[in-house]
């Protein structure tokens, strides 16, 4: 295919069909074509982590994927987590622990946390920091983010807090 490619995908449970230029990045597709601007774009070369989404159950950098590669995929973005009135538990924990200041990096952190809570044991705070190392935050100094994730891990594992 030289021209536009037709893709079908599910985003936050809703089916979509679109025609995309092959060079369009997945992040730009979500933001500019679907209007889902919760997925942020920072460095555009896979370093900052703010464009992290969940694709087919695992986290991925949406600036290092093409929209055409989302064909057939199940995507979850931060819009699929919760709303201001009805926050997802991960969002509540970030809120409770003051795990954000300006909020630019937050969507990426939230999506990364979706993945690591499912995929990693996260026994120690060092393991949490390692698992979060692909997301950069310039405000918080990370401490409150680690505390939010620690709370979520303890809830997951049924530990007494």
């Amino acid at each position: 295919m030289t021209g536009k490619a037709r893709i079908t995908l599910t985003v936050n449970g809703e089916p979509f069909e679109a025609e995309v230029e092959p060079r369009m990045l997945a992040a730009d597709f979500l933001r500019d074509e679907l209007g889902l601007t919760g997925t942020h774009v920072g460095c555009e070369h896979g370093v900052c982590g703010t464009c992290t989404i969940m694709m087919n159950g695992v986290s991925a950098r949406s600036c290092l994927m093409l929209a055409v590669q989302l064909d057939g995929a199940e995507v979850q973005t931060v819009e699929g987590l919760g709303t201001i009135r009805d926050m997802h538990r991960i969002q509540e924990a970030f809120h409770e622990h003051h795990a954000l200041q300006c909020g630019f990096c937050t969507p990426g952190f939230l999506m990364t946390v979706c993945d690591i809570l499912e995929s990693l044991p996260l026994r120690t705070d060092a393991e949490i920091r390692d698992a979060l190392s692909g997301n950069i935050c310039r405000c918080t100094g990370y401490d409150h983010i680690v505390k939010a994730v620690r709370t979520l891990v303890d809830e997951r594992d049924g530990a007494a807090s």
């Binding site: 295919m1 030289t2 490619a5 230029e21 092959p22 060079r23 990045l25 730009d28 555009e44 070369h45 896979g46 982590g49 992290t52 695992v58 986290s59 991925a60 950098r61 600036c63 290092l64 994927m65 093409l66 055409v68 590669q69 990364t112 993945d115 690591i116 995929s119 990693l120 920091r129 390692d130 698992a131 190392s133 692909g134 997301n135």
Partner: protein
């Protein structure tokens, strides 16, 4: 703002289709895209045709062969890290995968992508160099395989021809029970290695039947410390013998200065990481 230039996108479903799609003056393969897409976003790479091999599911398998394990080209780092066959025979792989970038990148990046990108500090080229892997290649003339020393030619340069693709890598099982260990120093978790070291030790009758040390970040490609390996083979299997041989680890290395570390610093790290890796490998070999 960084966006790739326009290209033709081809998504083969089979290996035969992939080889056909590569019959083009300026085609690039995309697997995980975790190295290629940054370069395309920066417009350092501007292929006219992009051949996306992600739908060729036969390339995702890890399987036992008569003499070893075959790891499919499209195996993601995250899947390699939790694969039971690799854990049983090459536990060093999971150890090394912990140093590969970050969670989201490990979910997407592939074994063959790392091999073909051929960064001299990357983990897969080092593992394959250490483990005497055979890189399996398919082209219009059929299959061939290459040893690491033939495959990795220079930083970011491999022996892959225009109409070829890597289909997997074969890791031969060690000749007997062995211990392996991986060590790496990077500036931050997930950064490129300043220096990485992988060790494999086999002990028979209280002597070193085989010692291997692979190093990354200190030469144009991953390298083996052959002088050290040769000196230790046949020696008494003791930590003191390993210590005594450490100066040999830096023989013939030519590290570069770059943003992350000076050549001198890299050289000074080699015996430190070599010692840690070799001693842990010895310990595991004699447990």
């Amino acid at each position: 703002m960084m966006k790739p230039v326009a290209f033709e996108y081809v998504r083969p479903e089979t290996l035969a289709e992939a080889v056909t799609a590569l019959d083009h003056d300026d085609a690039r393969i995309i697997a995980g895209g975790q190295s290629l897409l940054p370069m395309m976003n920066f417009r350092l790479v501007q292929p006219e045709r992009l051949v996306d091999i992600n739908r060729i599911t036969e390339l995702e398998r890890i399987e036992r062969t008569k003499t070893g394990l075959r790891i499919g080209a499209l195996t993601r780092h995250a899947n390699a890290a939790r694969d039971p066959l690799l854990a049983e025979h090459f536990p060093i792989v999971a150890e090394a995968m912990g140093h590969v970038a970050h969670v989201a990148i490990r979910n997407r990046g592939t074994v063959a992508g790392s091999l073909c990108h051929a960064d001299p500090s990357a983990e897969w080229p080092l593992l394959v160099t250490l483990l005497d892997g055979e890189i399996e290649i398919l082209g219009s003339d059929g299959h061939r395989s290459a040893e690491p020393s033939e495959f990795f030619l220079a930083p970011l340069v491999t022996d892959i021809e225009e109409q070829e693709l890597v289909t997997g890598v074969h890791l031969p099982l060690p000749a007997g029970p062995s211990g392996m260990a991986f060590e790496e120093v990077a500036q931050r978790a997930g950064d490129f290695a300043v220096v990485a070291a992988g060790a494999m030790v086999r002990v028979e009758n209280d002597t070193f039947a085989e010692v291997r040390l692979g190093l990354g970040g200190v030469f144009d490609t991953s390298v083996r410390a052959r002088a050290l390996e040769g000196a230790l083979t046949g020696q008494r299997a003791r930590a003191e013998e390993l210590e005594a041989a450490l100066p040999l680890a830096i023989e013939d290395l030519e590290p570069n200065d770059d943003l992350h570390a000076s050549a001198d610093y890299r050289l000074s790290l080699v015996p430190v990481l070599a010692r840690r890796a070799l001693i842990r490998a010895l310990h595991r070999a004699t447990q």
